[in-house]
Symmetry: C2
Subunit: 602 residues, 2 copies
């Protein structure tokens, strides 16, 4: 079926159901960053492969709403499909709720079909807010797309297992007891959890249902004396099931969550939910079963508790960084050797080859998986915000200019995320200046000391200021939280220009990754992970600082030394020296010599 | 009457009116920073002279709610009064709304008497939110305090006048036409304004009803074709009345605003108000007269428009800074001479004497008034957050250590605010270090370049970072907006650690005033005003920067040069050189020589 036929089929379904419009979102029931194939209805319907966007179809119009990252890609992929692009995040943009509001104003009793499992409740309520003044309404139809998407993939079926206490540092019983305290503080008798990483962290379980993120497709309900995990028990081994059972975890079928909500409601008490992440279908069920007065919609306390790593988790994250450092060092040595061959015309190395090699080396140091798809970008490709090197279609590395590699690993004991920008040969004066300015920003944040209560937004400018002084900037956040053997992107803290209402707390691990992207020329990003630590107390307050927990040398051959302050030079030399002392015993003689040279003070 | 007797009298009044509690706020009907005597009921009732706090009296309790600035002062002033202190802005603090909520839960039909003129609507609604679930209610009783405060002062009666277009740069007709556009955009037929500085700015009028702030006690209603100013017409000269009349400004009695709201409501259309500043009495009247559906409670557009100065206003602000520079230079020369005499034991100079001298010199350069009460603080007094030197009770200056003077003037064409910290003789190593760190912070902000859309909160850390690196900080904002021949503190922009949702825009003038306060030892603050300007456009965005618009030398004798970067030294030398070149022609030969020496590069 081509897109036009699919849309016609969808319109027939709409007609049968009495809908004036249908929303096809790109989301899954758990607000995952990486959406399993089963829920990629947007891609199936339209052919658009971007990671953000929603489709609305009426009888007279079909539109894809997406943001600036995808304007060019979408216009290529949607050519001839009859789907029009609606640009979001631009001045004067009209979002889906407003657009549907206008449509609803034209026809009394306007009815919109939505798969409530694939839209979070806050987004659905925004639509309702816009259509209800005109008498419009939403019809929640879970999985309606299955009627027309005949070869729709099944639920992900990966196995799952227990994360040992020696890695988790805190037992599931301890975590559940903490959560029960929070549920009771909120005056509730139960809590429904639907965020997969919250569930995985609370129960010390890890799965493989989501790409890169070691998560298990599930819901969870916690009451004063019960803990129900809604998933398929066959995903676990018998031993793991026994362990979970001993800890009082009941496993119920994934699909029985709706029924359980109805049962819960009959038992009395209030239900705690987080409408920011909960899908609209379950939200609707809860509201109907419990009634407005018995639902407490509040920010889940789990993300903050999860973001503050315990000692064992920190130890694991540091060990992962060490293993990563070994893999990356070996990678850069390999790359260096390959570039010599390239120079002699004896081989060709593509961006995808390099990524593959790095992945291989990382696995040989114990990584179970990548923590996200490696960005391996040479020259002007590194200036593209979402570059992905595809074998056979990507660039070959040449012995000149800058190569950017942003990658990370999932180790049994922790998760990494690191970016290095490496000269493959001579670099221009401007490349050197920019390389140094970005480095200044990264170091400035790493060196920062700040009072308790400081949010990431408060210190974001420290990383940007060296660039700003040259009227340069980068269009992404400076830092995101990193999970422990979990999602490489996690909240609630972030270091960003827009306001993030969460302080940076001791134990949090956040990335420090300023960059600079010169279109058509080159891209630079330096990224380390920062562990927030206490830094003393005095009459001015309680102080916090960062410890860098990434152990991979920073290339100094492109550093423009006079642009660095004395403190920045000291930091850089100490950092590289620390890296050498941590890694050298894991390297052979030649590798050691190679690294020693690169870690020499400037 | 002593406080106890006054409270007994109040309780009698409460009984007569059937109230269970009465709230005595410290506010006036216009949310003014400096409250006229007529509305200082809190001071009259309790004897507490602080600038922040509210009193609640029930039959069993009398309490003053105030914050950390006043805990010590309040406990002294309230001794023996029977009024207890409730601490606010501390962890676990119970505010007035919550406290009244608890009281209301104990008695059905709990009734609270409030002078709605003295409480802004948002605060009153917060109380209602807390008491209404228990069946409690508010009784709005305007001016009820007059019944027991027999010698209550009258309304302020100062004269008012027109600010000439040559100073305002934009006529009142232009401003009103702009405002009418905004009212219409909001779908309203009229707007009620109650903020005195919004009214003064819109109509290009200035008054003298409020200390330091050249404002006129008034309300204002703007409709599509009428502009009504509610004040006493006898405050204006005949000429000014004629001018206002020609521009279509109708003057009605201050007290007739209530009646006018009722008339307005009968004419139909919606009313635009800003509940953040509007008092609860008028808010209640509007709600009753218009009905909920016909009231649009929204942030007033005036403060932002007012904060962005036009070319004429900027010219005036710069001229004021120049005159201020002359006054301050003469002041520091005088101080220098006096300290020589002090050293020889030939004279004594108190902090109050110094403030008086500065005020005198400022008047001789054309200032009409101070823009706030000068802070003249020597040695350890400068470490007190709200120090006020009282003649006969304050310290004498000695020829050693640091003297801090924070002051400003109201000139016909502009308003100033400046702080200098000056060594009166030898200073310690630590004083020099701290003097330099604070200076680094001030310079760092002055040198900042940032993209369009940046809020003050985003760049606040640039001023704090040099201190933070030494685990030092200051407990106040880094910068506030400054009005043009208006309030020295104005919004909506601010440079603060907490989030302020307003970008710094070209034309805004904001203070840059980091500080450091070492209790019992010394205090340091450096303050200049910064004009935000455009700084070019490129592929990374539209850039903004600051121009310093304060022209008074910065003493370099206490600078620890090696703590400053090359760029900071360059800024300092250029700044002092610029100050000299601007001021020298206004000084006599000796003064010039004195200043030239102090402006020499380091």
């Amino acid at each position: 079926m081509d897109t036009k036929v699919k849309i016609d089929t969808l319109r027939k379904l709409m007609k049968d159901r009495g809908w004036d419009a249908a929303v096809i979102s790109g989301g899954d029931p758990h607000s995952d960053e990486y959406v399993p194939e089963r829920w990629q209805a947007r891609k199936w319907l339209s052919g658009f492969t971007g990671s953000a966007g929603d489709i609305v179809v009426t009888y007279g119009h079909a539109g894809l709403w997406t943001d600036g990252r995808y304007f060019i890609q979408a216009s290529k992929e949607l050519e001839g499909s009859g789907i029009e692009i609606h640009k979001t995040r631009i001045p004067g943009a009209i979002g889906i709720p407003e657009w549907l509001g206008m449509e609803a104003s034209k026809k009394p009793g306007f009815k919109i079909g939505i798969d409530g499992l694939t839209v979070n409740s806050h987004d659905a309520l925004e639509i309702i807010k816009n259509i209800s003044p005109h008498g419009g309404s939403i019809d929640d139809a879970p999985d309606f797309i299955t009627e027309i998407w005949h070869d729709r993939p099944e639920y992900p079926q990966a196995g799952a297992g227990i994360l040992a206490d020696k890695y988790a540092g805190r037992t599931r019983s301890e975590k559940l007891s903490w959560l029960r305290g929070k549920i009771s503080e909120a005056g509730c008798g139960a809590m429904l959890l639907s965020s997969l990483d919250e569930i995985a962290w609370l129960l010390n379980i890890r799965g493989g249902d989501i790409a890169y993120n070691p998560l298990l497709l599930s819901y969870m309900v916690v009451t004063e004396n019960r803990c129900m995990l809604f998933t398929e028990s066959c995903k676990f081994s018998g031993n793991d099931l026994e362990t979970l059972c001993k800890d009082g975890i009941e496993i119920l079928p994934y699909d029985s969550i709706d029924h359980e909500i109805v049962l819960r409601a009959k038992e009395g008490g209030k239900m705690l939910i987080d409408g920011q992440t909960l899908n609209y279908h379950l939200y609707g069920n809860i509201l109907q079963s419990f009634g407005h007065e018995r639902v407490c919609d509040s920010l889940s306390p789990v993300p903050l508790e999860k973001a503050v790593k315990n000692k064992t988790e920190i130890k694991g994250m540091k060990k992962a960084a060490l293993m990563d450092g070994i893999a990356l060092t070996k990678f850069f040595i390999w790359l260096n050797g390959q570039m010599k061959l390239v120079k002699k015309g004896k081989t060709l190395i593509s961006e995808a080859d390099a990524a593959e090699k790095l992945n291989e080396l990382r696995k040989s140091t114990g990584a179970l998986d990548e923590s996200f798809a490696t960005i391996s970008a040479y020259g002007k490709n590194a200036a593209l915000p979402h570059y992905s090197a595809i074998k056979g279609k990507c660039s070959y590395l040449e012995p000149k200019g800058l190569y950017l590699v942003d990658s990370g690993g999932q180790y049994p004991y922790g998760t990494t995320d690191i970016t290095r920008t490496i000269p493959l040969g001579p670099t221009s004066k401007r490349e050197k200046r920019d390389y140094t300015l970005v480095l200044k920003g990264m170091i400035s944040l790493a060196l920062s000391v700040f009072p308790h209560g400081t949010a990431g937004t408060n210190i974001d400018a420290l990383a940007r200021n060296p660039l700003w002084q040259h009227r340069l900037d980068f269009g992404h956040g400076t830092g995101h939280g990193v999970g422990h053997r979990l999602c490489v992107h996690e909240g609630p803290q972030a270091i960003r220009h827009n306001w993030i209402d969460c302080p940076i707390l001791p134990g949090m691990i956040t990335s420090d990754e300023p960059g600079l992207y010169i279109e058509g020329e080159y891209g630079i990003r330096h990224e380390n992970l920062l562990l927030c630590k206490e830094a003393g107390k005095n009459s001015c307050g309680e102080w916090l600082c960062f410890e860098t927990v990434t152990y991979t040398y920073i290339d100094t051959s492109s550093v423009h030394k006079s642009l660095l302050s004395k403190d920045e030079i000291k930091w850089l030399n100490r950092y590289n020296s620390m890296v050498y002392s941590k890694l050298h015993s894991f390297l052979d003689k030649d590798e050691r010599k190679w690294l020693e040279k690169r870690c020499r003070p400037i």
